[in-house]
């Protein structure tokens, strides 16, 4: 694979048909809410694009995001696009190891300074730098150094985007997200635990096509994928509106496919494309399998209380508090009532008879 090979050449060399390629372009355009007239533009841009240099840094992560992107059942255009970038550093995937691997990273950063795309998965510990190091370099130092020469940063997965599970209470490593540390580069968050593969390739395709990053929401997520909530796009939504809910995982409602809100579904507060793009090559998504959405692409999803209780339900024991309050209220009420009675009785006792001689005010 030569660095001068265009993306189109690389794809054809790997046996992707023109038809398959255009299909991908059309799907990408549609998902990014671009008009159909943009499909040839995307195709042309992608075909002639020089494979950009990509440096992938993995910090406090579980490799789930990488797995999500690479472990497809059959080769896909997404996978091939991913294969076709010049992935100059990815310590899970690359063949090189040890100092050779680090040398590759440094070379790539030098040669493509200001042009390479930095992909990050995993959160960054800020407490003790020793919690996570690569080749003796702390995650934070490596990120800050790599960010300097990056054209843009893609934070893949909820850990890189929002801190994720490492940042969950009590956050022992002081884990933070990329955007907590890097403030002077365009950052695209692609949260999810893991994120949907096509979202990553879609973002890359957008960058290759237009040379810019896609439109983002206030959490730096591409609006094209994160613009609507799971709830809004959910095929079970009509049951919610009708008030038909599954109460348990094996009741009649569950079998009839009713809304899972009562089982803790976070669909209403989760913004992602699962309900439309789906997983495993469009097979299904969690709700379709009968499990409530966990809200994995939202900040702090791990700390939002039980996965199996709704987002608005209390986390403390309210009935117990209410019972104690009734008791305390009764005691307080009786005490206050007794004080009132005493005060009133005092006025009654002190009452001086009012006679007709007591009516005129001295004038």
């Amino acid at each position: 694979m030569s660095k001068d090979e265009t993306l189109g050449e690389a794809l054809r060399r790997q046996g992707v048909t023109r038809r398959g390629f255009l299909k991908f372009c059309a799907a990408t355009a549609s998902m990014m809410a671009l008009p159909p007239s943009m499909v040839p533009v995307i195709a042309a841009a992608l075909e002639s694009a020089r494979r950009p240099s990509v440096i992938w840094l993995s910090f406090q992560e579980c490799t789930g995001c990488t797995e999500s992107l690479t472990r497809s059942h059959s080769p896909t255009v997404e996978g091939l696009i991913f294969d076709s970038i010049s992935l100059d550093y990815h310590h899970t995937l690359q063949a090189a190891s040890g100092s050779a691997a680090e040398a590759a990273r440094e070379t790539a950063m030098e040669e493509n300074h200001g042009k390479y795309i930095l992909v990050v998965d995993g959160s960054i510990p800020t407490d003790n730098p020793g919690y996570s190091t690569i080749a003796g370099i702390s995650n934070r130092d490596m990120l800050e150094e790599a960010a300097k020469g990056a054209a843009a940063i893609v934070s893949v997965g909820t850990c890189a985007a929002f801190g994720g599970i490492p940042a969950a209470k009590p956050n022992p490593t002081g884990a933070v997200s990329v955007s907590d540390l890097v403030h002077d580069k365009p950052i695209i968050n692609v949260p999810g635990c893991p994120p949907i593969p096509v979202v990553i390739t879609g973002v890359l395709a957008h960058y290759l096509t237009f040379g810019t990053i896609p439109e983002l929401d206030d959490l730096k997520r591409p609006k094209a994928y994160y613009g609507k909530s799971i709830h809004d796009r959910c095929y079970r939504r009509p049951f919610y509106d009708k008030g038909l809910f599954a109460e348990t995982f094996d009741d009649e409602g569950a079998r009839k496919g009713w809304c899972l809100y009562k089982l803790g579904c976070k669909g209403p507060t989760t913004y992602n494309a699962c309900a439309t793009v789906k997983w495993n090559e469009g097979t299904s998504f969690p709700i379709e399998s009968g499990h409530p959405c966990l809200g994995c692409s939202e900040p702090g999803f791990w700390d939002g209380g039980s996965f199996y209780s709704a987002i608005s339900t209390p986390t403390e024991d309210i009935p117990k508090a209410a019972v104690y309050a009734v008791g305390a209220g009764a005691a307080a009420g009786v005490a206050l009532g007794a004080m009132n009675r005493a005060k009133k009785q005092k006025s009654v006792d002190a009452h001086e008879k009012v006679t007709i001689d007591d009516l005129d005010k001295e004038k």
Partner: protein, 219 residues
Amino acid sequence: MTETEFLLWVRGPALQIATIVFVLGIVARILQMVMLGRKANLAEARGSALAGGLRTMVTRSVPDKGTFQRSTFTIVSGYIFHIGLFVTIFLFAPHILLVDEVFGLSWPALPTPVVDATAVVTIITLLAVLIHRLKDPVMRFLSGFSDYLVWLVTFLPLLTGYIAFHRIGLSPTMLIALHILSVELLMVLFPFTKLMHTFSLFIARYYNGAIAGYKGVHS
């Protein structure tokens, strides 16, 4: 404090505190009120005080014709926003689920689009009620800080609930947190303000009806 932490605080300790203030305050306030007592009536009764009291607790919800004509706006708007509050609070599916989750009580919900429309009508009516209070010479004259405060803390949960349902402006997490917080504000202020009328009006109506019923009058 992140949004999630804020939501957790709001639906955790804050809700617990609000519940305690709300329940304790209401129970204490009602007892304090009733314990002032009243003298037994020594006059020979013509009718039943109990029956009269119970009757007026219900019948006072329906005004007589002349009163309706004289206070049409107050009565109609009062009906709309009270029913609207009832519908949005008690017949909205997520609210019922909350009660179910906390107390194990459940009842059928109205379809969400119906509740949504009711919320809009109620919001508009409450705004009209506020304008009326500011413009009507009698209401403007009678009203003080507490009247406007009570209006505000009633309005806020409705408004934040509507915004949260439609997810306007802020993140859903923040919107839900603000909505719950606004309800907690209502709960905390409830026992110390005339919001207490929610409960005390039935006591007041009972006394009114009992005083009249004893004399054989339907009040």
